[in-house]
Symmetry: C2
Subunit: 112 residues, 2 copies
DNA sequence: TCAACGTTTCAAATATCATTGAAATATGGA
DNA sequence: TCCATATTTCAATGATATTTGAAACGTTGA
């Protein structure tokens, strides 16, 4: 995972509305949520929500798929895990300061 | 860990200079680095560095201690771990989507 | 085709952040 | 005490982010 990518991912999460959105999606799991439902749950106005979803999408923290007239958003667990892995990488010069493991969730994949 | 705290921590890391600073501190471990040394390693100008260190410090991502005329900065591993734990919390509604463990490093403590 | 619904785009206003250089502060040694 | 070193503060500038409402877009069902 590149530093630039990590900064983008962190920036995507470093905002009240987006963190709320992302957590809602993480907690609902792979089924995801329609944009309108996210708006209801979080109280974020549709246009503002769309802006933040695009931001999260651009950071690859969420994915979307059209379903009828709904757009379903889901958390990108693989990116989340890559992000978490990056932050603990090379901790203490690579010495085993303590057992480090990569947090994982369903649908996780490889990361660099 | 409160949402507000998490946003602050994420925002602290979501910036090129600060991520570089933090990673340098993570990799050097508990021994830490003097401000001037961080400036050398990262190429960040002293005044800018000081700004970012204050930001990281305010987010409780780093700690500092005076040592002679040097100020030694160290990564706050406990906060980092709390942060990582928060992001994986309640994943998929609390269902065991896969083994989730809290990444850890030396000197880690409790978190909420 | 038409109207309703769900979502996104756009432009403008406001707020916040990052960088710079100069000056200030504090520590240690001659 | 005086000077050099290490770090921080300050003010100003430029750049980015966030929110809002109105309008546009695409999908569905009548």
């Amino acid at each position: 995972m590149e530093t630039k990518t990590v900064v983008t991912a962190l920036a995507a999460l470093a905002q009240d509305s987006r963190l709320a959105i992302f957590r809602a999606l993480v907690q609902v799991g792979p089924a995801g949520l329609a944009a309108g439902r996210i708006s209801e749950l979080t109280g974020i106005a549709p246009s503002s929500l769309s802006f933040h979803l695009k931001e999260l999408s651009h950071a690859d923290m969420v994915s979307s798929q059209q379903s009828g007239r709904f757009v379903i958003y889901t958390a990108n667990f693989s990116t989340m895990n890559a992000l978490l892995g990056f932050l603990t990488e090379n901790c203490c010069g690579g010495n085993p300061c303590s057992p480090v493991c990569t947090p994982a969730c369903a649908t996780s994949k490889e990361s660099t």
